[in-house]
Amino acid sequence: MANFYVRSTDGNNTDNGSTWALAKATLAGAFAACAAGDTVFVSKRHSEATGAMLTLASPGTLAAPVYVIGVDDTGNPQPPTVAQSGAVISSTSGWGLDLQGVAYCSNIEIVCDISGSNYAAFLGVGSHGSSTNNNYWLVENGALYQKSAHVGSFIKVGQAASTSARKQSALRLKNTPVRFVNASQKLELMGDFDWEGGTLNTTTVAPTALVAFGSVDNAAVGIARITGVDLSGLAIGNSLVALGGNPGGRAVFANCKLGSGVSITSGAYTSPIGPLVSVENCDSADTNYRAGWFFPAGSVLTETTLVRTGGASDGTTAISWKMDSNADADYPMVTVESPTISIWNDTVGSSKTVTVEILHDSATNMTDGEIWLEVQYLGTSGFPLSSFASDAKSSFIATAADQATSSETWTTTGMTSPNKQKLSVTFTPQEKGYLQANVYLAKASKTVYVDPKLTVA
């Protein structure tokens, strides 16, 4: 595998890039010369600005990416031994910047000045051009910055295909900040986006919604995984995910710092299949239990006031899950689904009963056609094959029956007719393994509090 060198201060794309003395002037110049598996060293003093659509098409493959490394070139070491930031690669004068092919890129600041009439192209991976596919860039210890304040200048992963064949792209950021310059700018996803560590830079502006999913034909499904990112620049009036867009998308946030009053979602679902949004252990305050899960039929949020005595807690703060359904919820398929509650089971060959306690504000009991518990257990000897036990009514046409009443103690502050019930299923495991329980809420426009602490007897 060969090494290539890029330095704008004295480089020239007519040179072969094999040494600092023969350095290329641009990364695109190096990509034109290098091959899969090669390494491109970029000087910390490098600064290139292209006043045209800047396509950085790496010849790398999944088996052999091209490695683009920002380095300290003091003394012209060959190869360099110290990775260092400082290099800037940008498009200017309103042009887009697209990352294509497969590459690992570290310690490089990538800046896009897309704007105005050129907004057909974006800053992104595989966001431009109809013939690229399987683009995958990992950007580490760098930066991804918008420069233009144009309202439609998104950071975009993937694009609508010009034919019926979908094109897939993925962008992964590690310890890399992202910046927008207009509140309407956002991450528009029609591919995979993974962001681990770093900060949403809001020194200029905070985006009204951080993530949105593309809403065009033939686009791939967008998926966002955002973990350990400081999103505290988002504040009251901002949201993490704008609903709508192509169905099937998913956004997962975990262990992120949020701004005070930021909403998780904004807008309304336009599809019965998503996007699904989950936010686990993310908050603006010093908590370790705030979570939320959002579905077309409603949401599940952590609750700390209406809780069961002796129920789930983080050791200090008692919690329950507030399951809220909207008018679309309906038995048996349009439901709000609780997160999975798992507990290890060592019992084989004898019956077990799993119970979940619930609370709601109505004198009328909830039935097994409105809320139920489903438990996966290993019910087949010799194989890790799940069986399912449920206390939902037995079939679509069966008459619904009330779920059992409960005598457990709950805090019921503010409730008019607190109603305590329990959901139980009994089954016989045939293998050791995890029992995985989910509560399903199918009654429209209903709020139910669920204690996520399983009782196994």
Binding site: S184, T208, I236
Partner: protein, 166 residues
């Protein structure tokens, strides 16, 4: 243009740390509802938040309408490279080598054309090359693509539509 016809919010009971869940909803005149739910501490005034958000939402709706209008009129300029990416490899070869004698002779699609048809294609390609940018709604672009399709120089009959509308 969509606009907000009503906004409201409801505040939930206090959580253990004093914050409340606020559900905020803005109903649009096209029937859509733009909803938000957030945890508000005691310093946050939900009514003020709702009013401010309604104002920003209105501005965004206007901006989005402008983008949609700009995009839907088909007048976004493409670079030659952007336009080239709409073509298959075989179609690019014809674009690039139509005037190269050895290619034209060996390519059955070109060889089948009449002298007049070849002249039409040359003029169309010259216009394309002279253009600073390519607009898909430009009659010159549509004429060139349509002509290439009619002369069988594209990969299939559906390709003209894909190139111009895809």
């Amino acid at each position: 243009m969509a606009s907000i016809i009503s906004s409201n919010y409801t505040a939930g009971h206090p959580q253990q740390d004093g914050r409340r869940f606020i559900k905020e909803s803005h109903l649009l005149d096209d029937g859509r509802s733009v909803d938000f739910e957030y945890l508000a501490d005691e310093q946050i005034n939900p009514a003020a938040v709702m009013t401010d958000r309604a104002s920003r939402l209105s501005a965004e709706l206007q901006a989005q309408d402008a983008i949609i209008a700009e995009a839907s009129n088909g007048s976004m300029p493409l670079t030659h490279r952007q336009f080239r990416k709409r073509l298959s490899v075989a179609e690019q070869l014809i674009f690039d080598n139509f005037d190269v004698a050895e290619f034209a002779t060996s390519n059955p699609k070109i060889a089948a054309l009449s002298i007049e048809q070849r002249a039409n294609v040359r003029t169309g390609l010259a216009t394309y090359r002279d253009a600073q940018d390519i607009r898909l709604d430009d009659p010159d672009t549509q004429m060139l693509v349509g002509m290439l399709s009619a002369y069988g120089l594209l990969d299939s009959a559906e390709r003209a539509g894909e190139i111009l509308n895809g």
